[in-house]
């Protein structure tokens, strides 16, 4: 079975499509060149033929107006010297001499009633007589004519009988005797004034120039195609070095990890299912996409705590996954000798190759090491880029606040406010405050476990500098953060407002499911009224949340301590 286009690898796809484009480009370029040059050749021929015709007409006018009257004056009216008085003879003779020098150039003066039979019109010229006679206003014709001798361009003008010509072309009785004796009294007579006496035409051959042009076009096509293919070859080498080989490395790496990350087969599954990605995907990008889908499935599985493969980091054995942060997993771990329980913060393996995420992760690790607060998870040690954190015995991810009574809820929030105040005092803005980033201990102490998107002026803000745009969960994000602004502590106060609203109503304050940045900004702009009118919220608390969720930062709480004090005062 022939492989379909989708199943060809990236390099072959690139080569195939690029070759088609190059051939098409060469064809278009040479076609355009041929068309343009043909126009130039035709225009040139037309101008030349017109020039020669006008020259012949000038000769004829000279004979009629100056030479012939002079000859009559010298030799009398009965004498007709053909070589000096006949316009037809003189013009034809001069052009015969011209044609001897200019091969292919032809001048013809033809008549349907010629005195000299050699000047009789052919079939095509008879048609042209008809064309000129149909409309006396027609005084010129130009065009391309294909005949047995090849293609040529012709300029043609009609010659109408004038009064002074009738002596020689009217009644034979009036004609000079010498003429009658030379040509007889049959051809070239019996015209009346205004009759179409003849057609003057100049023909220039263009078959040879067109043939040369066709050859030249062929050469241009071959050169263009050759050059393009050479360029394609060089680009292919570069593409291969810079993109394909690296992509292949990533794909290989991902596929290696698929084996590690794949859940062990369940009932009804077999090993073939685990390699479905490799079997059905085609090029490297498809493989990458499929691998990321696979990774997503794995993360979902990991969140449920299923099927983790045993592994070790230093002396720590990795146990069940606990949660995921912005760019790392949190696993339970056990020291293989002391049996001490720890938490392992492990960066996402595949995102870790991205230098931007790597820099974000470094920021997170440094902030975690720098900070010291009872509500921030404590770092025990660091093994390469993996943080070994103190265990949170019996703690669970803060998912719903419904499980806590009023006093517990207030206690948790006051501690969160204090933690955020600590971070802001340290010049750290979290940018990703949401319930999933907190654990709640048995003692109802919230512990922050993720700072992946935080900014700290002591370190470069990679997310901002790289122009990645807003990162994190838009549902908890302040409008200015959605607009790409970072480093303003008031953005965290907005997120705290969302968390409070969620905790007390079980809903998010925005309506609908916005699917674009603009839609999110519009949704965030309509939040305040919704908060004020929500039935589950006491007026005082609604006022606090409304102030925290103000669209403009200047209308919001300016300091987390002010928000905490209002909240604490409300519950006192």
């Amino acid at each position: 079975m022939k492989p379909s286009f989708e199943k060809i690898n990236l390099r072959k796809k690139f080569l195939l499509l690029s070759s088609i484009i190059m051939v098409a480009f060469a064809l278009v370029l040479s076609g355009f060149y041929y068309g343009y040059m043909k126009k130039v050749v035709v225009q040139d021929a037309l101008e030349k033929s017109n020039l020669i015709l006008q020259e012949v007409e000038a000769i004829r006018s000279y004979v009629i107006e100056e030479l012939r009257p002079k000859m009559y004056q010298l030799h009398g009216n009965e004498s007709f010297v053909l070589e000096a008085m006949s316009t037809t003879y003189i013009s034809l003779r001069i052009m015969q001499l011209f044609q001897e020098k200019m091969d292919g150039y032809t001048y013809r003066r033809v008549s349907q009633n010629p005195r000299n039979p050699e000047n009789a019109s052919n079939q095509w010229e008879d048609e042209m007589f008809g064309w000129f006679e149909a409309d006396k206003a027609r005084s010129f014709w130009q065009g391309q004519v294909n005949s047995e001798r090849g293609s040529s361009f012709i300029s043609m003008i009609p010659d109408y009988m004038e009064k002074e010509c009738l002596t020689c072309h009217g009644d034979p009785k009036d004609a000079p005797g010498s003429m009658i004796s030379k040509y007889g009294d049959v051809g070239g007579f019996r015209f009346v004034e205004g009759d179409l006496a003849g057609l003057d035409s100049v023909s220039i051959p263009i078959a040879k120039p067109l043939s040369r042009l066709a050859k030249l076009t062929g050469v241009i096509f071959i050169l263009t195609l050759g050059g393009s293919l050479l360029l394609l070859f060089v680009i292919n080498i570069l593409f291969d070095k810079l993109v394909v080989s690296r992509l292949a490395w990533i794909v290989d790496s991902l596929q290696e990890n698929q084996t590690l990350f794949s859940p062990t087969p369940q009932n009804g599954q077999n090993d073939q299912d685990r390699h479905v990605v490799q079997q059905t995907t085609a090029d490297e990008l498809d493989s990458l996409q499929a691998s990321f889908r696979h990774l997503n499935r794995y993360v979902r599985t990991a969140r449920r705590g299923d099927n983790l493969q045993p592994n070790f980091i230093g002396p720590y054995a990795i146990a069940n996954p606990v949660t995921t942060g912005a760019m790392s997993w949190l696993y339970q771990g056990i020291h293989s000798e002391t049996k001490a329980e720890v938490l392992l913060k492990i960066p996402f393996n595949n995102l870790y190759v991205n230098p931007i995420y790597r820099a974000c992760l470094q920021t997170e690790l440094k902030i975690m090491q720098y900070c010291d607060h009872q509500n921030l998870i404590k770092v025990k040690e660091r093994i390469n880029d993996i943080l070994i954190l103190h265990s949170l015995q019996g703690a669970g991810v803060m998912r719903s606040m419904k499980n806590y009574d009023e006093a517990g809820r207030v206690s948790i929030f006051i501690q969160i406010f204090d933690l955020v105040a600590y971070l802001h005092t340290s010049d750290i803005v979290h940018h990703d405050l949401q319930p999933g980033n907190f654990f709640i201990t048995k003692e109802l102490s919230p512990i922050m476990v993720d700072l992946g998107l935080a900014s700290w002026p002591k370190l470069p803000d990679t997310i901002f500098d790289s122009g990645m745009g807003p990162q994190g969960d838009f549902r908890f994000m302040a409008p200015e953060q959605i607009n790409g602004r970072r480093g303003d502590p008031r953005s965290d106060l907005y997120s705290l407002g969302v968390i409070l609203f969620l905790a007390y109503t079980g809903e998010f304050p925005h309506k609908g499911q916005p699917d674009s940045i603009q839609a999110w900004l519009t949704a965030k702009g309509n939040i305040e009224n919704m908060v004020a009118l929500h039935k589950k919220l006491p007026t005082e608390l609604a006022h606090i949340i409304k102030k925290a969720l103000a669209y403009e930062t200047s209308a919001r709480y300016q300091w987390v301590e002010d928000m905490r004090d209002d909240y604490a005062t409300y519950y006192q």
Binding site: A421, Y422, T425, D427, W559, E561, D562
Partner: protein
Amino acid sequence: MKLAVFSDIHANIEALQAVVDDFQKQHIDRYICLGDLIGYGPNPNECIDLVRSLPNVVVILGNHDAAATWEATPYGMSKSAQQVIFWSMETLTRENLSFIKDLEPTRVMGEMIFSHANPYNPKAWRYVNSRKYAARTFAQTGKRLAFIGHTHKPLVITRKNFFQISFEEPEPSSVYTVTSGSRQIFNCGSVGQPRDGRPLACYLIYDTRLQQLIYRRVAYDHRQTAAKIIAAGLPAYLAKRLATGR
């Protein structure tokens, strides 16, 4: 939010402890120490430890701190100051030296800027107590409120309009209302070596919600500090000046 702004502790643990005790009564949210934790006094390590133990504290670099880690040269200081700096270099623990080395020269919080001396060029260590340096601070600092120390004298500088700048030496417990739109520089005085003629530790509290600022003066046992200075072999002149606040 209530901010406590204090400066120029100068290793005077008795004064600092008295101020910290006063903090407890004021429900402070954030603490801003504007530098010079060491120099002149006999307890540099104790003072650093006590400041670091405060919750939500920001510590700014002072010129004596910078000199102790060779961030600035001690040779530009007075003889007595130099002597104490070299003594402090020997006395400070490695951890506290490392802490001082990492201090930042300015900090911005919303519309406020904090610095030990002149905020626009903090490591030049200028005294902002004249029209010239006040005008430069207003012109080159985009923030509405500036909090400084360094001179050891509490001072309120207000830009009334483009041409007028007023200087006011606040009395103890003076309350100032920070009107929105006005631009002011507040010198919080000194905890450990006041020089305004009052032998009382000085600091200020700024309530951002009420937009009110209060200067507080706290008595402490300056005789005990003076005795420690003598016992440590530091210049006697530094002990004597604590009693007069000059």
